[in-house]
Amino acid sequence: AQSVTQLDSQVPVFEEAPVELRCNYSSSVSVYLFWYVQYPNQGLQLLLKYLSGSTLVKGINGFEAEFNKSQTSFHLRKPSVHISDTAEYFCAVSAPYNTDKLIFGTGTRLQVFP
């Protein structure tokens, strides 16, 4: 079975500052990894994914994430945040043999201040 831990429930940051949202996973098999963003009263939007290959993946809206197998982590980063990045961010994993079953973390609330 897989599980996901998002270590920070809230991350406050000032506009134009860099940010890192942390995600650690647990699995006895290899996994696919995803980051989603959820704006208030909306569904989830896919930011980026890691399936295999290069451990640094780039996504939409200037976000990127790095897969670290030894630390079982998949942290999300952005070098300069905007007010519009204020939202809830979810890390998720799936097993390659069951890609439709996403296991989500509890989410990190990113609050960007002017």
């Binding site: 989830l44 979810f90 079953k101 996403l102």
Partner: protein
């Protein structure tokens, strides 16, 4: 292209009632999954359907059921509603690159 659509947007039901939620996937997507998101939590997997067959089920009671139609749209049914069923219900469809695209959700309130 249109995204995943869900109806209704909001729903208020009384304990013990039954509810049906609907989902239309992105055109060309054959796999549909349902998730329950309780306030303040991440989504929890309920069901996955592919080509009208159930391919996966999460840890939910038998009061929850679903089906998929020949046009790949899907319905989620919940019987004998409990207060704890109040949540945002999300539908997602998947493409061939293992990317799940979520609809806006149906907000169910059970009173």
């Amino acid at each position: 292209d249109a995204g995943v659509t869900q109806s209704p947007t909001h729903l208020i039901k009384t304990r013990g009632q039954q509810v049906t939620l609907r989902c239309s996937p992105i055109s060309g997507h054959k796999s549909v999954s349902w998730y329950q998101q309780v306030l303040g939590q991440g989504p929890q997997f309920i069901f996955q359907y592919y080509e009208k067959e159930e391919r996966g089920r999460g840890n939910f009671p038998d009061r929850f059921s679903a089906r998929q139609f020949p046009n790949y749209s899907s319905e989620l049914n919940v019987n004998a509603l409990l207060l704890g069923d109040s949540a945002l219900y999300l539908c997602a469809s998947r493409n061939r690159d293992y990317e799940q695209y979520f609809g806006p959700g149906t907000r169910l309130t059970v009173t």
